[in-house]
């Protein structure tokens, strides 16, 4: 086809930059809702402190990151809003390798999510300083744990969003199944399964350890202590699993 002058494919830097910007636009509404929530919370805290409720002090601790870790599981659905990856939509019709393109969009979302987590902690820091709240001076590495947890749950959520057209159903179904399993945990048949799931979530190398840095002491799920080496190992394990699942989902999106 010598007579046709071919158009060049875009440079990957241009695509990555545009993905970062467009994901920012996609997340704008959620960011505004979060900003509104924290704005109202700030007003409430100022009000309490102004009118003499001296106990209204905001603590500053890495454990405050747990809600961010849970929310990060849902963020990919906002990142891929307007796209049903399995339907071969707009995103896939662009002149970029499908897998690499999906990775770029998801990683753009991860950067925004980690940025939002940082802003979340910044708010806690400022609120804590202004209200004279308790500042946690435990090991410095504990401040990294929420970010590791956010990265893991975000990547797992991305994988789910990429492989199914109904991530809400799968997530909701999983949660219902977990609650149901816990409700039945004393029944002989379900106890081993419930303990296995608990081990994956809250065991020594569970996602709970990744998100908080605290792991159970000698198998006692109610007693925890901070252990850097256990956290590091569990973080590597979970990141390896999350990255593998995410890459598999990015490069093997189903046809429908």
């Amino acid at each position: 086809m010598e007579s046709v002058l071919l158009n060049p494919a875009p440079a990957w830097t241009a695509v990555a930059r545009e993905q970062f910007r467009s994901v920012g636009v996609a997340l704008r509404r959620e960011a505004l809702v979060a900003a509104g929530f924290f704005g109202l919370l700030s007003v409430w805290i100022v009000y309490l402190n102004t009118y003499g409720f001296s106990d209204a002090k905001v603590p500053f601790s890495p454990e405050a990151g747990v809600p961010a870790v849970i929310l990060a599981l849902l963020v990919p659905m906002a990142v891929w809003k307007g796209e049903d990856p399995a339907r071969r939509g707009y995103h896939r019709a662009m002149p970029v390798n499908h897998g690499a393109h999906a990775v770029m969009r998801a990683l753009s979302g991860l950067v925004w999510t980690l940025g939002a987590t940082l802003a979340y902690f910044a708010w806690f820091g400022v609120a804590s300083a202004l209200t004279g709240g308790h500042v946690d001076h435990e090991a410095w590495w504990l401040w990294l744990t929420p970010f590791a947890g956010v990265a893991v749950t975000y990547l797992l959520g991305s994988a789910l969003t990429l492989v199914t057209a109904y991530p809400w159903r799968w997530m909701g179904g999983g949660m219902v199944a977990y609650l149901f399993l816990n409700a039945l945990r004393m029944a002989d048949g379900t106890r081993p399964l419930a303990e296995l799931v608990d081990g994956v979530l809250w065991g020594r190398y569970g996602i709970g350890t990744v998100a908080t840095g605290y792991s159970p002491v000698d198998g006692n799920r109610w007693a925890h202590h901070a252990n850097a080496s256990v956290w590091l190992l569990s973080t590597w394990l979970w990141l390896a699993v999350a990255i593998s699942v995410f890459l598999y989902a990015s490069y093997r999106q189903p046809e429908r």
Binding site: M1, S3, V4, L6, P10, Y90, A93, M94, E255
Partner: protein, 307 residues
């Protein structure tokens, strides 16, 4: 009579071809043995009922689906192996209206799209937006079906691609805007010399553009031919027949559509006009006239073919 409906186009070169193309979803075949040939510079209209496999064919040309059998070539490239480069050459208007990001404004969506096409022509995009009466500040998700279609056409045309794949491009457009759109499309084709593959089941809407016709039914391409060949060889014969007329067995296999009232028959027959007229006369019919069909009538006749 030996003239079966043509399924191969002799004149190349081709902008898009498929060979023995098959695609299956679950147990059902969406396409089976499709041999598409879209000549370079042509406006090829692919017609067929809903579910015929037109959209799947377009998605295979774009490399959005992997074929289960057969091969696809677009501008001499394999969309599976060179998908990004193929998609860089294609302006695509999808069948679905919710394509693109509904949370963006039109201007932002165009900006997003432009980042993927280094040859994006902003001046042309702005001119198209003005001609289509599309406001840049409007949110894509709140546009009507017709306006969304126009936005899709801007996205497809503004980087002046060598190949346009348009899936039901006039769907949702009012008659005035449809006319305007087809005028702009004709102008675009004349300016760029690009190839256009239009999938539709509303042939009359794209009649003035089409120079090739492909007919799809049940996942198979049952006919494809240049318009002038269609015009020359598919005619509607009006003839008077005697009361005891037994039909024209020698025309079996070439009658695309049979109709008529009383002793007057109106048959759409594929073949050389003089030979068809002779065979009708030999059967006892008196041929009154033989007229070429409009593109839409031809498409309807080919789609309702029983022989």
């Amino acid at each position: 009579m030996t003239s079966a409906l043509p399924v191969r186009i002799s004149a190349g070169p081709f902008a898009a071809t498929t060979q023995g193309l098959a695609k299956r979803f679950g147990r059902d075949f969406a396409l089976l043995g499709v041999e598409l040939q879209v000549p370079e510079g042509a406006v090829y209209v692919l017609v067929g009922p809903n579910g015929a496999g037109k959209t799947t064919t377009l998605k295979l040309l774009l490399g959005l689906y992997a074929p289960d059998a057969g091969s696809v070539r677009v501008l001499d490239m394999d969309p599976r192996a060179q998908g990004p480069l193929v998609r860089a050459q294609v302006g695509y208007v999808p069948e679905r209206g919710d394509w693109g990001y509904g949370y963006m404004t039109v201007g932002r969506l165009l900006e997003h799209h432009a980042a993927y096409f280094p040859r994006w022509d902003w001046q042309y995009a702005t001119r198209l937006a003005q001609a289509f009466d599309v406001g840049m500040e409007r949110r894509v998700g709140r546009l009507s079906k017709g306006v969304t279609r126009r936005v899709h056409l801007i996205l497809a045309m503004a980087h002046r691609p060598p190949l346009l794949l348009l899936d039901e491009p006039t769907d949702g457009l009012d008659p005035v805007m449809r006319d305007e759109t087809l005028g702009l499309l004709a102008e675009h084709v004349a300016d760029t010399g690009c190839t256009v593959l239009i999938s539709t089941h509303l042939v009359h809407e794209v009649d003035r553009l089409a120079d090739h016709l492909g007919v799809m039914q049940g996942g198979r391409l049952t006919a494809q031919l240049p318009r002038e060949v269609l015009h020359r060889n598919l005619r509607r014969y009006r003839a008077d027949v005697p009361a005891d007329w037994n039909g024209a067995p020698l025309l079996n296999g070439t009658v695309v559509k049979r109709g008529g009232v009383g002793r007057e028959i109106q048959w759409s027959v594929w073949g050389d006009e003089r030979e068809v007229a002779r065979l009708l006369a030999d059967s006892g019919a008196t041929v009154r006239d033989a007229a070429p069909l409009t593109l839409e009538d031809a498409a309807v006749a080919l789609l309702s073919r029983k022989d």
